[in-house]
């Protein structure tokens, strides 16, 4: 483990341990070591001893915000459906948060999914997470038996050989183009601030698609989604997806067929991404969890770009400002409107 990550790991353990010991939080949501290289496991510590299992490394790709509503509920005293809420404040939950995750928590607060006063946030300036798919590609898809993280490099063990790769070369695309690596809300800062970053080619992936013809874009889209097996890992890993009944599960009316028919799969991906418009913080969880390697983020990134260009809004930066699709101005752009 790199020095930065081991320092952060120790700080998280110490802080989470304290919070749990003092009773300030009833549970602490972070990551534990996985059972295979490049895997971490979302982990909920409920005792100071369990806090010792928490880790921080470059493979924390799941957005913990998605677990928050469930974990918050789990620490509430149990009660029947008709019982009144208990008196006094409800127990709190601790959680680690990088820039994008904290922004998701802001979105969740605006959408009344979590409340600020029930969270104790350990803010971490992110150096970016590593894409296991990119690492995999670096070694030609071979089996990786171990991986060691240095400060700026990764040593990949494969077939008894060691391959040294630059960390930045395998950073996830969303982290490469991240402009807000520091958390926007937090209670304790862990490690150093990562600072604001100015990214020239923030929308390079989107620009490339936009430059194509409609037919080429359709081809690209169809090619991407043809791999989809409809496992819904993208949806379920997304902290924005919390509808009790997702549109894909609606039966009256049924909006989307459930098999891997290309039209149904297309509609699923269009609507899934579209539902994230103005709310997505490009945390990259959807793309990271996709077992089939679909470049899902390009879809949400396009929406992010348009929301920023048209409405000057970036998701989750401001706790007070309304969500861009829950507000309007009199003179929003409307060049697309056909004049009769």
């Amino acid at each position: 483990m790199s020095d930065t990550n081991s320092t952060i790991t120790l700080e998280i353990r110490a802080r989470a341990g304290e919070l749990l010991a003092s009773g300030e939080v009833k549970a602490f949501l972070g990551f534990a070591e996985g059972s295979i290289p490049m895997a971490t496991r979302p982990f909920i510590a409920r005792t100071p001893e369990q806090a010792e299992k928490l880790v921080w490394n470059s493979f924390c790709v799941i957005n913990p915000a998605g677990f928050l509503p469930e974990v918050l509920k789990s620490v509430e005293p149990s009660r029947g459906p008709k019982d009144p809420p208990p008196e006094g404040p409800l127990p709190r939950v601790g959680v680690v948060a990088t820039g994008c995750w904290s922004r998701n928590m802001v979105v969740q607060m605006k959408e009344n999914q979590v409340s600020r006063d029930r969270l104790v946030i350990l803010g971490i300036g992110s150096r970016g997470m590593v894409s296991n798919k990119k690492v995999q590609a670096m070694v030609g898809g071979r089996d990786i038996t171990a991986i060691e993280e240095g400060e700026h490099s990764l040593t990949v063990h494969c077939d008894g050989e060691k391959t040294e790769i630059h960390r930045w070369d395998v950073i996830r695309d969303n982290c490469r183009t991240c402009t807000h690596p520091d958390p926007v809300i937090f209670d304790y800062q862990i490690g150093d601030s990562a600072g604001e970053r100015h990214i020239e080619d923030r929308y390079v992936q989107v620009d490339k698609i936009e430059a194509m013809s409609a037919a080429q874009r359709w081809q690209w889209f169809q090619n991407e989604i043809s791999k989809c097996i409809r496992c819904y890992a993208c949806r379920n890993a997304c902290p924005l997806c919390y509808c009790p009944t997702c549109f894909v599960d609606d039966s009256r009316p049924q909006w989307v067929g459930k098999s891997t028919d290309p039209v149904d799969t297309s509609i699923f991906h269009i609507l899934r991404a579209y539902h994230c418009a103005g709310r997505c913080t490009d945390c990259g969880a959807c793309e990271s969890v996709c077992p089939m390697g679909i470049r899902l983020r390009i879809l949400t990134k396009k929406l992010e770009k348009d929301v920023l260009e048209m409405y000057g809004s970036e998701a989750g930066l401001d706790l007070e400002a309304p969500l861009p699709l829950a507000t309007y101005t009199m003179n929003d752009p409307q060049q697309f409107i056909i004049k009769g």
């Binding site: 698609i209 409609a214 028919d261 348009d306 056909i338």
Partner: protein, 149 residues
């Protein structure tokens, strides 16, 4: 096979366009166009909705999936919404949706948005003519049209 004139080609394709019209302005505009006997192509099938704010991406995609060659959504002009602000919210959603559908390869012109007031019968007729011609020029929809074989 190639020498035989195909039945499909023989029947002249005529675009089918689903129009979602808000009941207060655009539907009234369509009504006025009829009452005033403004001619417009018979290619649209109107679905009357309370407000353009009611139109979700789900409905538009469902129309395309079910085989519509084009979609037209029309509501009150900004500022005229019967529910004060429904069309303002809708405008943001439509702007993003239109761009996004084009981003994934839906031809510009398949999905169209407009504002038509209750007094704009002639404009409505013009709009329908324009949209019909646009869709006709694009040809039958294939992308996002569900087929079973």
């Amino acid at each position: 096979m190639n020498n035989e004139p195909s039945a499909m080609n023989e029947t002249k394709w005529d675009p089918k366009i689903i129009a979602f019209l808000c009941t207060w302005c655009s539907y009234a505009g369509a009504d006025l166009a009829g009452v005033s006997r403004f001619q417009y192509p018979p290619n649209i099938r109107i679905v009357k909705v309370p407000c353009s704010g009611r139109i979700s991406a789900n409905l538009i995609l469902d129309a395309l999936k079910s085989g519509a060659d084009g979609v037209l959504v029309s509501g009150c002009h900004p500022g005229d919404c019967h529910y004060i602000s429904g069309n303002y919210y809708a405008r943001r959603r439509f702007a993003l949706l239109k761009n996004f559908l084009e981003f994934v390869g839906i031809e510009p012109g398949r999905v169209n948005f407009s504002w038509v007031s209750a007094s704009e019968g002639e404009q409505f007729a013009g709009l329908v003519s324009e949209v019909t011609e646009t869709v006709r020029a694009l040809g039958p929809a294939t992308r996002l049209v569900k087929k079973i074989d």
